[in-house]
Each structure stands twice: as C-alpha cells, then as structure tokens.
Symmetry: C2
Subunit: 412 residues, 2 copies
Amino acid sequence: MKYSIRKKELEVIISLFNSLSKVKNFNELLEIIIDSSRILANCDGGTIYIKNDEDMLEFAHSKSYFLSSKYSEEVVQEIFKPFQLNIDENSIAGYCALTKKIINISDIQKFGNLVQFKYNDYWDKKYGYNTISILTVPLINNQNDLIGVLQLINAKDKETGKISYFSPRVEYIIDMISKQSAIAIYNFQLTNKLYVSQVETILKLGIASEYKDKETYNHLRRMSEYSKLLAYKIKGSNSYAENVRLASMMHDIGKIGVPDSILLKPAGLDQNEKKTMQKHTIYGAMILKDSEAFVLQLAARIALTHHEKWDGTGYPLGLKGEAIPLEGRIVALADVFDALSSKRVYKEAMTIDECKSFLLNEKGKHFDPNLVDIFIEMLPEVLEIRDRYLSDENISPEIFSIGDIIVDLSSI
Amino acid sequence: MKYSIRKKELEVIISLFNSLSKVKNFNELLEIIIDSSRILANCDGGTIYIKNDEDMLEFAHSKSYFLSSKYSEEVVQEIFKPFQLNIDENSIAGYCALTKKIINISDIQKFGNLVQFKYNDYWDKKYGYNTISILTVPLINNQNDLIGVLQLINAKDKETGKISYFSPRVEYIIDMISKQSAIAIYNFQLTNKLYVSQVETILKLGIASEYKDKETYNHLRRMSEYSKLLAYKIKGSNSYAENVRLASMMHDIGKIGVPDSILLKPAGLDQNEKKTMQKHTIYGAMILKDSEAFVLQLAARIALTHHEKWDGTGYPLGLKGEAIPLEGRIVALADVFDALSSKRVYKEAMTIDECKSFLLNEKGKHFDPNLVDIFIEMLPEVLEIRDRYLSDENISPEIFSIGDIIVDLSSI
C-alpha cells in the first residue's frame, strides 16, 4: 500500500465493502458509495454518473451537505434533476469517461481555462454554490469497461474546515474504493439485466404456447399470479413462489405439438381427438425436461401434470393425491379458476359465487382439498389480481422499428 | 471495531475483498477465500463446504501446507476427494451448519469427547496428520441463509511456530471476512444459475419453434454457433457474439403461427400458401418484440429479417443492403448454409465445395458480400462446429421422473 490508512478510514472502507454486495436497490447502492466517498475525502458533495446503453453519461445520484442545508428537500430534488452528458471533452465528467483517467483539480476558478474540457458554472451561479476543488474518478469494472464516473466536490481542510484541494492520499483512497464500487454497480446491472431477460424470455415462451388458440397475455398473467399466491401460502418462500409463477406460464407449451385440426376445433372432439389433444402435456414435458435450471424443472413437472386430478381420474398418468407434484396441483386449480371466471368469445364468465361452488364441489375430486380451502380463503387477493389484469384486448399497436425504419406489422 | 487490525492484515483483507467480486471461476473464488483466511489466521489448513440443492454440505475446496509439503500433487488430490456431509451433529462442519454458530476448538484431542458432535480422525490416522485446533465458521449470506462452512485447522503460534489455538482476535477477523465471502459465493451461484436458466429457456423456445417440422437440436446448435462466429468476426465483442448466438435460436418461433396445412406440406406451395408461410417472420417479431432485454430485441430483429436478401428481393419487407440489420444478414447466411450442408429426410447434404460455390454465387444477391467473404475465410472453424453437432438423431431416451415415479414419455 502506498499510503497508510487510518483506523477510522478502515472502518468506513470495510463497512462500504460490506454494504456493496448487500444492497438490494440501485439508488441505495449509489448513495452508499457517495456517502462513504464523502467521509473518506472529507468533502461537500458527490455525484455518480452511469453510462447508459446509448453510451451517454447519465446523472444518477448526487448529494451535497451545502445544498441540503441551504435548500428544502424539494429544491434539492429539483437541482438534481436527471440529465445526460456526452462522453467527450465538453465536460469534466465526460472527459474523465473518455480518457478513463482521474482528474484532480485543486481550483477550478484558477485552472478552469487552462484545461482541455469546459467547465459549466451554470449551477454555481443559479444556486450560490462556489465550486473550487473537483476530484473526478472513472468507475471501471474488471474487464476495463467504463461503468460510470464518480465526482467529488470541495474537499475541506481538516483543521480549518475551509475548502481545500483533494490530496494525493485522498485520491489514492478514492481510487481504491472506486474499483470495488464500479464492480458492485456492474454486478448489480448484470444481475438485473439477466433477471429481466430471463423473465421476459419465459413470458415469450408462454405467449408462443397460446399463440394459435388466441389465449391472451392477461390469462397468462392472472393464472401465473394465482399460482404464485398459492405457492407462497403453502411454502412461505418468496423465491419458490416466484419460480412457480414463472414456470406456470409455460404449462401449455406442448400445445404447439397438437395438430391444428384438433387444437382449433371449436367443439366436440371425439375420443381419439381428445387423446391427441391430451398429449400436449407430454409434448410440454418433452420440450422442457432435462434442464439444470430449477424454474425449467418446475415447468416440465407442471406441463406434464397440470391435468391430473386429485382422485386419479386425470391425464396423462392418472396420478392420485400427493403423487401429483404440488406445482401441478397448484396450476390445475389456478388455470381452471381463471377459465371459469373469465369471459371468452364462446362463453360468459361465471360469477365468483358460482366459481366458489364449483371449486368446493370439486374439492377432493378434481382438486387438492387443502389447496381449495387456501384458495377460497385468499379470494380477496385473487380478485384483486383478476381486476388488475381484466382486459383481454391487445392494446399495443403492432409497431416495430429497425433503425430508422418503422414497420406496422399488422399491415404487412 | 472490537479489535485493532494491523496494516499487513488490512492489506490481505482489502486484497481479498477486491478479489471476491472479480473472479470468474468458482474454484478460484474458494481458493482466494481459503488462502486469505490461512494468512489472517496463521494456520495450516482450510476447507470450504458448500450447501448443495439437496441440503447437504459438499466438500468443495481444501488446502494444507503440511499435506502439500509431505505428499505429491496427485496424493493431495486423492486426499481431497469430494464427499458430502449431513447437516447434523455427526460432524463439526455439519453441526456448525446446523446451528449457524462459530465453533472454536483449541484442542480436539482433549475436548473431542466432551462435545455434542463427533470428531472423525480417519484422515489424521491415514495421512499422519495431527489435528489439534479447529475453527469452524458458518458462511451466511445477507438473507441469513446458510451458504456453506469454512473450516480452518491448526493455528500456529507466531513466535514459536508451534500449533496453538485460534485466538478470539483471529476468530473476530475470520468472522468478518466470512460474511463478505459468503455473499460473494452466493452472488456467484445466483448469477450462474440465472445465466444457465436464461440460456436453457432460450434453447427451449428454439426447440418449441422447430417442434412440428422436426428440425433438430443440432440444427439449432450449428446455425447459432455459425452466427456467433460471424458476429464475433465482425464486431470483436464476445458478449455481443454470445447474444447473437442465443437470439438466433429463436429466429423461427413465428412458425408456430403458421397453419399445419402449409407448414407441414411436403412440397409445392402455391403463391397464396407461400405468402402465408412467409408470415412466420412477422409472427416471430410480434411474439418477441417490445422487450427490455437486449437478447430479445436482437431476436425480434432476427425473426423479422432473416429472410431479407441483400439485393432487396427478400421478404417480408424487401429491405436492401445495410438497411437489413446486421444480425438478420448473419442469420440468413448461417441458416441457409446449415440447410445446404446438412442431410435432411428428403435430400442429401451438399458437399462443402458445392456450398462454397453456392455462397459465392449468391454474394451480393442473397447475402451480404462482406459476410460471404468472412464466412468462407472461417470455413475450417465452421466445419469443426458442423462435425461437433453432426448427428441428427435424438439420443436421449424420453425418460422423466416425478419423485420416485419414472415415466417413459414416448410410451404414453
């Protein structure tokens, strides 16, 4: 280590590192980084810019003791309104991002005109701020990609409390924590993107599976939310319940293997046709099986068993009672309830009282009796979900853009 | 802080924390944790157990100065053969995992019989090891879930070098780093699981899209790998290329919207039927569009444009040249090349020379001329991929298990 680190500083650093991997919320993460930096550098303000998908620096979070003491919370919010900077020499943060180098300016008033980039004193004038020293540090991850920029303003002298410059020792410490911070931000972004991407891919699979028989987004949303609720009431684990929600969206994927002549027949399937239709459970399991991913293992089990019945009269295996996997029993109930309680082109919706009677009548026959009781108990929550995803219309226009070309898919 | 931390220790801690979020490999992560712990505790050996999906403690990584100096690399490997422990009082690590408490034993020879758990001295006897002091620390993440156990063996006295006990000060430091370590391990597992799950869901979508017209896993694997190779040669970015690989698997998802009567017609589509078949590009874009996830944005673009041709004679939009998104041009080439170079039920495979002529003939007509040149240049790599995924048979039996029940899906 180049400089010795004091015990107080060490405590801040360790507490920061501890927090970095713990926070669940992006803003909280940025706030912790700025707060720790301000303590370590003993300075007034701190700002983090994050590079966005368009390669712009986006103002992400900022704090200033001076502004917080002088203005109300609302005015500070107004001052810190989001804006974007180009990664170029037209701003200090932009120049730091461009060169990936630390820029340590002891007095911007003196040196402002000598440097390559421009200093914009619009804020200073407007809010009576007197920017003097600025330490600007690039946030770079372990693949040497720029993640963002950390900017600290107005270091204070320990003895006099007057505004001073950022010492080489402070620069060293801030540089050290900026590396960890950048990686934490990057990991957060990555996990978030991966999660969004996973959830959306599953939704696409769900939509694909209902594409031909015109089931809607909202049917998938409702039945998967009902399934999640049931799963949570039984197991009490949020992550299990969320996995059941995602997995349940894929329950009918096997339908893509059923011939149109049967899948799209409006009514009256004969015995043979029924048998063929029922194979969607097996096709679904064939498509989804043999995955390492828990959510797909659940999905395969659900696809195979969501038409089994508690009394053993279901298909394709005729499993009975608890031999049917819990998730299969859950989705059976959620799926049937949604079919009953929703309007379709060919039928009206049952009233809730009718649905309730139906479930109670099928308790121990079609459905797991325990699940029926839980479901009826949680009906208020169920109806809240139903009302949230009530519309069965597709409201989004079929617009698609490729670069500058905008295509109306419905018109081709 | 309860105890003061020395500068040397601080360096180890900071370097550990720095490494924790950086490593790309799970074993490397465990090794860094063990190495740092051994330095901080000044002890001979360290072992990490990881809790697996079956709630067992799995021996994951171990190091010992004594064993490494006494035995060859192979023998040490043999000693550290993977095994599992129950989370119960039958072992120290199991007991630590059960109670989530630190167990600090100064002399197992003296106290071994006084404690709740059993001490197994099988190893000691077999390898001439003399276990005396043992510090066992639970690895717990920020949701207070047990991730694993860190066990350190035989602390050494700083002055005499003799085996001694783990001091409360060392216990404090190891406890501190164990928290960070547990979170790093947990984050690693989480990201890994999320990634596997994302990739496999996309593969399932790909399989679903080819389900009816009996394209195979291997077609998807080959064409997506060709696409990845081309994407990498053009852009030089690994993550972009991997995204193109994943996105390209979904290029035909719109086929699920095409009526069987047309999709499954062996040959000779009339003009109207062709138009309907061509709509699979539009259906694909409709299913995949409007996602926040980059991979799905790519996939939507590919689905819509993988039948466009460089000279503007393709469908559905008749785009020309660079107005066709790069990814669409890439997949067009990769998909056609795989169709030509593979055997299908109804046709033999073209020879590579024939394929080459075909591509060169279509250079600037069907295909982006630049991509054709690059593809032909990289033919050796292409053929390697082709040979790796040559078989078009489905070798895995259709076996599926639900709990104890094993189902042969193909027999139902």
